[in-house]
Symmetry: C2
Subunit: 196 residues, 2 copies
């Protein structure tokens, strides 16, 4: 399992700029968010130290693609960049829950809404590599959300990121979303590249 | 979460007839298997009493369909019957793990192999309602298998069940299977219908 834990607390690597509930209940206000990838005996990851003022913890896992076709996957892999880039000091955590009616649809019906009607993959592709993205699943863990999507980008990309979200939220797919919370974050620290 | 735990031990509702490893490592030999559906605070279920001689426990969860199209789903729903039928005193637990190469395929490539090439859904449909089936997922839990499939049928259906398994195992899909263990079970007890 490639699990993750997001902890909302008083302190953490990412400072909260704002939390907006677009649909359904919001998350409790916190000052910071920490993203902790799991490994080995700690599949969801554990904080290095207990988070002070911890208000919430959300768990998820990386998994295989559920809708992406081969040609789309090739385009994504060719265009995307990883997380933790120097300069990518803005981030967003967007937990989403879809309706029971969505999950009762067959695979082809969900794919039709997701891509043929809403162009979810094609729209995301337009913003690569500037806006890096990692999807975690959590519905099957009995969590309060179905997905946790994590984005990282440079501050200059923030207006384009707002545009990306607006396009997705106005798509037919979002009629099936019943909870959508946007946690916008920034990291003041200048980070070193991996191994630097 | 709709979780489940299968416990292999000295005692349990289902007596083990045989355990066959068709591919990859087998499971330790046990005398009985218990299937415990989770609920509420115990998402994977807990045994009513600690199982004696417990040799293994496998966890999984029910989830949305990953490959079934709408027309296929309508046929399955119309034809299938539930578990726990009077007379369905034979069962099988078949844990499967697929290769990393399978999981690296895109959604349309997996569907192509699963149904267009292997007719997995269409073959299963031929055996409904006699052979009842419930699929649990477990790859995303970090379990040793990717799926746990549970079957229940009358003893007179055992030869047809063998035929169903032989057809699936000879399909192109099975080239992607790297572990496949078949646990065949019987329940001597005459069970009452629900509420009876």
């Amino acid at each position: 399992m490639q699990g993750v834990t997001f902890i909302g607390a008083d302190t953490g690597r990412w400072s909260v700029q704002r939390i907006t509930a677009w649909c359904g209940a919001t998350l409790p206000v916190v000052s910071a968010v920490e993203r902790i990838e799991g490994a080995g005996d700690q599949p969801f990851g554990l904080p290095a130290a207990p988070a002070t003022g911890r208000a919430w913890a959300l768990h998820g896992f990386r998994s295989n693609e559920r809708y992406t076709h081969a040609g789309e996957k090739r385009q994504l892999v060719a265009a995307q960049e990883g997380l933790d880039r120097v300069g990518a000091t803005c981030a967003a955590l967007i937990p989403i829950r879809k309706s029971a009616a969505w999950w009762a649809l067959a695979q082809d019906e969900r794919r039709e809404i997701f891509e043929a009607q809403s162009r979810h993959i094609a729209i995301g592709l337009e913003y690569l590599p500037a806006i890096a993205r990692r999807l975690y699943h959590c519905r099957d863990l009995g969590e309060p959300f179905d997905f946790l999507t994590w984005f990282e980008f440079a501050p200059t990309e923030a207006p384009r990121f707002d545009g990306l979200l607006a396009r997705l939220r106005s798509s037919p797919e979002w009629a099936w979303v019943e909870r959508d919370v946007e946690v916008r974050l920034s990291s003041a620290a200048v980070r070193s590249p991996a191994g630097g």
